[in-house]
Symmetry: C2
Subunit: 298 residues, 2 copies
């Protein structure tokens, strides 16, 4: 089934649009995983600790949210051992019927882009994602090999359009023909040929939730795109800020949170002694917050 419809089904089944980020910042891991940040330990043991932590997040997410988003950078930091952990986490999440958006932000041209796309979207001995994030700097033709792979594997893409960091504005929205708009319009043209039953395509867009005032405009300019909204929680956006990204049936956007859930213990009275409980409560609170403000499917 088309990725867009698989995602719509998952959002309807769980009744919320949460995309749980799995970002194993080594320095923030609860104490029981401290070996992960011990530079004198064997790298493979550090990576195993990272995997253990992430597999607990997969358990937390299972059946409660539609999708998870492992962040490749924190795995890649531990080299090949970390990438093996990434693959283990991706495979476990898919086994748990979670959709997996690999946050890899890859981008290259021609046969090189095709290799990245095969690496992350095709059956390849482990670590196959349902969708990945990609960066459009190299131009429309650089995205085409990723689209071909997504189409061929019932997968999806989330293309960076307008990001949530303070510095995103200056370069993405400069001048009379900002690159963010060019990327969005190209996605809309491609998406129109790839609509699922839900009326959305497998070509999504990353649009920072911290740009609340702009979200409704992007929603209009990207009518077929699932919007991946980073910035909720740790970066300051709340449910009221993201509402403009949703269709009235509750589909069309995923709200990502990583540190705000996984590392909730740092702000919880129970602290690291109960990091699981803190994450559990933070996830409940996020789901409730979104249900109070955003139309919901399911």
């Amino acid at each position: 089934m088309n990725f867009s419809d698989r995602l719509a089904g998952a959002v309807e089944r769980t009744g919320n649009p949460v995309l749980l980020g799995i970002d194993p910042h080594l320095d923030l891991l609860p104490e029981e995983f401290a070996v992960a940040r011990d530079r004198s330990a064997r790298r493979v043991d550090r990576a195993k600790a990272v995997a253990r932590f992430c597999l607990e997040l997969v358990e937390l997410a299972k059946g409660r949210v539609p999708a998870v988003k492992p962040q490749a950078a924190f795995f890649e930091e531990l080299g090949a051992d970390g990438v093996a952990a990434f693959e283990e986490v991706v495979d476990a999440a898919r086994d748990a019927s979670l959709l997996v958006v690999g946050d890899v932000k890859r981008g290259d041209i021609a046969s090189t882009a095709a290799a990245y796309a095969r690496a992350h979207l095709a059956e390849n001995g482990g670590g196959r994602c349902d969708a990945i994030t990609v960066s459009p700097y190299l131009g429309a033709d650089s995205l085409e090999p990723f689209i071909e792979a997504a189409d061929a594997n019932e997968g999806g893409l989330f293309v960076l359009v307008r990001t949530s960091n303070p510095g995103g504005t200056a370069w993405q929205t400069a001048g009379d023909v900002p690159i963010a708009g060019l990327v969005a319009d190209q996605l809309t043209a491609w998406g129109a040929e790839r609509l699922g039953e839900c009326g959305l395509s497998n070509l999504g867009a990353v649009v920072g939730a911290t740009q609340a005032a702009e979200l409704a405009q992007w929603r209009e300019r990207l009518p077929h795109a699932w919007m991946l909204l980073p910035g909720y929680g740790a970066q300051g956006a709340g449910a009221a800020d993201v509402v403009g990204a949703f269709r009235s049936d509750g589909l069309g956007a995923l709200v990502a949170s990583s540190r705000g859930i996984a590392f909730a213990y740092a702000k919880d009275p129970a602290g690291a002694a109960d990091w699981r409980g803190a994450a559990d409560r933070a996830l409940d609170a996020m789901i409730a917050d979104l249900r109070s403000a955003v139309p919901h499917a399911g």
Copy 2:
């Protein structure tokens, strides 16, 4: 020593500005490495064949060119096993006194960008590069963690500015304030504070050699940047096209070629039976071609 001076020394020592791309396209590998493309073989054995091929390219490059550029995508295609091969190749190239530009085109923000930077530029159990390519779509602040890591590790960056693919133009040079110019000007500002003895900084720029008419303009706009020029050979540019990127002392640019060297056997009468000889002759020809047209150091 500052990356810019290390690179200047390597160019002067070898007397040429060739950046040998190590792109193990599985489908193009000579027959003796065919297991690499055999999807029924164990992934680890496929990755070992990839490593073997690449280690031969390292031997080919040793003492003859200043630097090599392994392309992460073709390794990543074989998952964690491929990344282990990437690390082996990077370490072997550094042991052979070649500078290593990891062609990873990573980009992300804040602590995530810092994790990517540590992954590829810091001592980390293998696979540490001297420099990496990065993508600027997310904005100037997204590059800062990479710069910090480069500075701290005597490493360098090559930031995508203007790429060699046909689709690069439409998005990178659109409107009255094109993003490529914004990125270039920011690099120039940062670079001015990071000059080595050679007068160049550790913050380089990727500028496609297929944009010959523009190269001299970019040279002027990026006075402190080492320019990494893809597009020579397979993508159609020749020595005459790249001359505008060089300073009169022969420093300031690296000319990359990957397929044109490693897979020269495909166009050589001797064919795959002598892929090493074909690569060797192609590398000699490229060095001679550049020395005929471009001012050279050393």
